[in-house]
């Protein structure tokens, strides 16, 4: 294991550098399910799915809603290229809940000509947002 070496996390979005710091563990959701990454991980690139991102810092834990993008994992750090990622304080709960309901209703009704993949993605995003807040 990479004991004693810093394990850094960088989260970059098109608009800003979202997070940069030394962490102990990072958890997030990928196309293969939820994974947790510790220092010394095998080099890997994974595609992200909407979900909760948990950042374990030496002192505290931080959460964020991570919606899409991909992550490049190296033994000494992770770089996440995220298209959309939000801190809990940036999320509007009422809006997220409304979006969740809307997406659920659409999926239930199976409206004609509805883009199912899109509704499903919207539902996942809404759920991720609400989970981060809780």
């Amino acid at each position: 294991m990479a004991q004693g070496k810093d394990f850094t996390l960088r989260i970059i979005t098109p608009e800003r550098v979202f997070y940069e710091g030394v962490v102990e563990m990072v958890e997030f959701n990928t196309t293969e399910g939820e994974i947790g990454v510790l220092p010394g991980h095998v080099p890997m690139t994974v595609i992200l799915m909407p979900g909760v991102l948990t950042i374990h810092e030496p002192e505290e834990e931080k959460w964020a809603a991570l919606h899409s993008g991909f992550a490049e994992i190296l033994p000494d750090g992770i770089t996440i290229l995220a298209e959309v990622v939000e801190w809990p304080q940036e999320i509007d709960r009422t809006r997220a809940e409304a979006a969740k309901e809307r997406a659920e209703r659409r999926l239930r009704m199976r409206e004609h000509g509805l883009d199912m993949a899109r509704a499903e993605a919207a539902l996942r995003r809404a759920i991720a947002r609400i989970e981060v807040l809780d």
């Binding site: 970059i12 098109p14 095998v42 890997m44 690139t45 595609i47 490049e72 770089t79 298209e83 959309v84």
Partner: protein, 284 residues
């Protein structure tokens, strides 16, 4: 020689034009700074994205992905990024020229996705087909806007309606140098391998083909967004330069007119004096 009054009036009008160009220069300087800092902020994202896509393509070799191989359709979609406002020197016409002067392209085969009303009007005047007018994007685009556009383009591409996608934008080298560039977005061309790829070995849990399917749309979106950011910075840079030139030209003209005015004034004084003296001598 023009009369003193004419010169004075002309000088006054140039002076007020100069005030306007000076103000416009200041405005675009401020806008340029803002646009440049946001373009720089996005830069690390694109560098990372570019590296990743390059290393995937270098590694997986030939796969039967529609994104890598040309379609049968002859149609070319060009996303042309110009501005909604003029007075920016050659900024808009340079982008338009990229397409109109492109050799081997037939007008009938090209469809324009116009971002910026100046470009839209120029293409329409030249008889190009405008598929969509997205001029509102030229002011302050968001990443979601770019996502929307790339979704639409990819759908058309996958349906076989268009065979190639290009992006015509202005690359922001620095404050004084901007370069119009025509970039091929799809099909993705194999990039030349320049030395070893500095990235982690791609160890996808899903297959390469699937990874490609997921990453290419993000790649296109990031290129579109990057192109928009660069173009906005370039637009303000170009306008700043144009207005700077206009201000100094006005300065030159004002100087010349002031000289002409003073000469005319001196001439009229001399003439008056001569007349008075001649009159006095005639009496005496």
């Amino acid at each position: 020689m023009a009369s003193m009054r004419d010169i004075k009036r002309r000088r006054g009008s140039i002076q007020s034009t100069q005030q306007i160009t000076k103000a416009m220069k200041l405005v675009s300087t401020v806008k340029l700074q803002r646009a440049r800092s946001s373009a720089e902020k996005t830069k690390s994202y694109f560098d990372c994205m570019y590296e990743t896509v390059r290393s995937i393509l270098a590694r997986i070799g030939e796969v039967p992905s529609p994104y890598l191989h040309g379609r049968t359709s002859e149609r070319k979609a060009v996303v042309a990024i110009t501005s909604n406002r003029g007075l920016a020197g050659g900024y808009n016409s340079n982008v338009v020229k990229l397409v109109t002067k492109h050799e081997g392209w037939k007008k009938e085969d090209v469809t324009i996705y116009a971002i910026g009303s100046k470009g839209r009007d120029a293409f329409a005047r030249n008889g190009y087909e405008i598929a969509e007018d997205l001029s509102y994007l030229a002011e302050s685009p968001t990443y979601a806007d770019a996502m929307h556009l790339s979704d639409k383009l990819l759908r058309e591409f996958c349906d076989g309606k268009i065979g190639e996608i290009y992006l015509a934008y202005t690359f922001f080298r620095n404050t004084v140098s901007h370069e119009p560039i025509l970039l091929k977005l799809l099909p993705v061309e194999k990039m030349e391998q320049e030395g070893p790829v500095a990235m982690a070995p791609m160890n996808f849990e899903i297959s390469d083909e699937e990874a490609l399917e997921l990453i290419i749309p993000k790649y296109i979106t990031s290129l579109l967004y990057g192109g928009l950011m660069e173009s906005i910075a370039s637009e303000n840079g170009a306008r700043m330069q144009a207005m700077d030139n206009a201000t100094s030209n006005a300065e030159d003209m004002i100087n010349n007119l002031t000289l002409a005015y003073n000469r005319a004034r001196q001439g009229s004084i001399t003439q008056e004096l001569t007349e008075i003296i001649a009159g006095a001598e005639a009496i005496g």
